[in-house]
Symmetry: C3
Subunit: 100 residues, 3 copies
């Protein structure tokens, strides 16, 4: 089985941001994305100490390290100050490399 090492970028954010997140992901050149509805708790934005337990989404993108960086930088600039958002990157091996 041929495996290609890539990055899985996971973005957990308020559901209201879904259209904006998709726009950024597509704009930065990711070949696709997967969204699941989620709920949770965490600190909300860097300007607020409040906590939320509202509708969240979990958006996953398989991409190169560079694309993950571009997406993260863009989201940080636009949304970190005002929205609850968590981004993390995992090393994964993809079994269908021709799709990315």
């Amino acid at each position: 089985m041929e495996i290609t090492e890539v990055k899985l970028l996971t973005i957990i954010a308020e559901a209201v941001l879904e259209p904006q997140l998709i726009e950024v992901v597509e704009e930065k050149g990711a070949g696709g994305y997967t969204i699941t509805d989620a709920r949770g708790s965490g600190s909300r934005g860097v300007r607020s100490a409040g906590w939320t337990h509202n509708g969240n989404i979990r958006l996953e993108v398989i991409c190169t390290s560079d694309v993950a960086d571009d997406i993260a930088a863009c989201l940080r600039e636009r949304y970190y100050a005002d929205y609850a958002m968590v981004l993390f990157v995992t090393d994964v091996g993809v079994l269908r490399p021709d799709k990315f």
Copy 2:
């Protein structure tokens, strides 16, 4: 805390394939699976350039490297040509090794 290194195989596919995916996962000897409903966008099958934003599922299996390979090989042979499907493998540490 005793940790055993295993593989987490994640399959993102069209929801219509759920019964077939479960059959393959069980046939290849995985001890269990977890499914979440998802949506997303990506290229659809190797025979088509179309894009979908339909109902997807995200199926996760914790298994050995060999079982992950067997599942992936089987899915590739049967479904890659005609269905949107992404497979990726992550190294994870399981905290309840006796269950796999």
Copy 3:
């Protein structure tokens, strides 16, 4: 992009345990959590050989290795004997380290 290496602890458990899981996660000092609804199959508890295909949840926590250990130890002591539960840990890089 500054990245901090942390742990992603994923807990897959029967949905009925959601309030107890949240309590443990908060008690052990995690800064937040994300829950998605899931379904699946797997062996149920160490005292039973039965299988279930009931409502599950998938709870994710980004935390330090020590917090992951504390949560896992607590869950193992309280729930492993009687409930279906799978815990696994993944190394992830977080892009907003000030939030954990």
